[in-house]
Amino acid sequence: MPIAFEKVNYIYAPKTPFQYEALKCIDLAIELNKITAIIGPTGSGKSTLVQHLNALLLPTDGTVFILDRTLVANQKNKDLKSLRQKVGLVFQFPEYQLFEETILKDVMFGPLNFKVSEEEARQKSMTALTMVGLDDTFYERSPLDISGGQKRRVAIAGILAINPDVLVLDEPTAGLDPQGAKSMMELFVELNRKYKKTILIVTHDMDHVLNYCDNVVVMKKGEVVTHQQVNDFFFKGDSVIDIEMALPQRLRFVESLRDKGFKLDSKISNIKDLALAIKKEISHE
């Protein structure tokens, strides 16, 4: 039951003057039950790629394997809706999708669309809202009446209530304040470790990639440039790979200190260890 792309091409507006090849011959296999980050500059094809995962887009060429479904280019693909129950996709700034009278009803909208009974939908929605940190005082409020960060969480709860096996999120922390971003990333880790969900996150935040993700896919101009484990990506042997994007803060500190003569292991994984290592260097010299 893989999640894979085989020689996938995607062309926007084919045969028109606006034709644009967004994905070029993608060969990619996503590891299940892990958290994979998808990074790359704007326009590299990240959004196009993830929209294939729940069949919002179908490949112009090639094949996409998602769990028990196979989507082949130029073939009739029926019943795409059932796929969307297994692969939940949350777009950027999802606050815009809220529309129901109350928050609880809005979260129930998803499961109800997948023919779940009203009672079960209610249960799942309440669980989902608890997971995102919104308690029962929110149930009867209007989704338009809360803060932006709270709306974001309601929107995500709306997809969690569908209980997909795979969760795909396009920049889930964009525009959130630092603490909001942190609790959101911790939620995804919990969904992965505790509920065994496969998680894909499109992001620009290298600190998040380093601190929360297992694997990383780098995209550029419609192609996959690298696909590695996060550790291999940031550290090559004993020194940090020179990547085009900005390094996470911890690594920047480590590299600056190393450049000035500190003998630090690049793979130090948190701030306390870093402090200890610095102290050791200073005291033992």
Binding site: Q51, N54, K81, R84, F109
Partner: protein
């Protein structure tokens, strides 16, 4: 793609394209009036010739016009049918197994068809050769003498131009919302009536909400930049008339004049 709505603007390079939109708009209105005068064959020949000439001058072709007539086809057939049954004056043209078709019925239908054709041709020439924003400027200029009577010419023009600016943005946003709701299981093709209503609501409500928010933010930005609707302001885009515009409007007035004279 700011050529949705208002017919379709075709970015061609013709004399008509370069003419002052104010003159084109007025010309269109004058021709519309002319078309409705009961001037008989000769009148329609005069108008028709002028319109066809303008069409060619604008580098357009008849195919487009016929395509624009397509939606009317059903109505015209229906009209023919009704007229044949109802209008029983004039002389008998056809006699089918005792069912008589009278001349007045045929000619009336023909007149209506020709009028329709001419109207479509005239409006198409206008919208195909004039950018929507230029039309808006023309409307603003033509209506501005009415400002002293309280008619909000500028405000209307501003509203139209902002609407035009946001059409592509709104289309993108609608697509985004549709995709987001599709990811939540919305399927417009299947489902009970109630489900379909919910599906449509799930598209319309977010669009409305974001539009209201957008309007508020836009108004704030405009105010912060010193915009006051009723105050005097200058305008970056100026419309310039040329002798060609004078020639065109004069010809149109001549057409109207002849048609009116014939009708009397």
């Amino acid at each position: 793609m700011n050529n949705i709505a208002l017919g379709r603007y075709l970015p061609l390079d013709s004399i008509v394209h370069k003419m002052d939109p104010r003159y084109k708009l007025v010309a269109m209105l004058i021709l519309m009036v002319a078309i409705f005068f009961p001037s008989g064959y000769i009148g329609y020949v005069i108008i028709g010739t002028f319109v066809l000439f303008s069409l060619l001058l604008a580098k357009l072709n008849l195919q487009m016009i016929l395509r624009a007539m397509k939606p009317m086809l059903f109505m015209l057939v229906f009209l023919t049918f009704i007229n044949t049954l109802v209008l029983r004056t004039g002389y008998v043209l056809i006699d089918l197994f005792g069912f008589k078709v009278y001349s007045d019925a045929v000619f009336q239908t023909l007149y209506i068809t020709i009028r329709l054709l001419l109207m479509i041709m005239v409006t198409t020439i206008l919208t195909a050769s004039t950018k929507p924003l230029d039309l808006t400027l023309a409307i603003e200029d033509l209506f501005s003498p009415l400002k002293r009577f309280g008619f909000p010419a500028h405000e209307i023009a501003m509203m139209i131009s902002i609407a035009l600016r946001f059409i592509p943005t709104l289309i993108d946003e609608t697509n985004r919302i549709m995709k987001a709701q599709a990811s939540r299981g919305v399927d417009l093709k299947e489902g009970t009536f109630k489900e379909k209503i919910m599906a449509i609501l799930s598209l319309i409500v977010p669009l409305f909400v974001s539009s209201f928010q957008r309007a508020e933010e836009l108004a704030d930005a405009m105010e912060a930049r010193g915009y006051i609707p009723s105050a005097t302001r200058t305008r970056y885009k100026q419309l310039k008339q040329t002798p060609k515009d004078w020639v065109m409007i004069t010809s149109v007035i001549i057409v109207l004049g002849s048609v009116v004279w014939i009708s009397l």
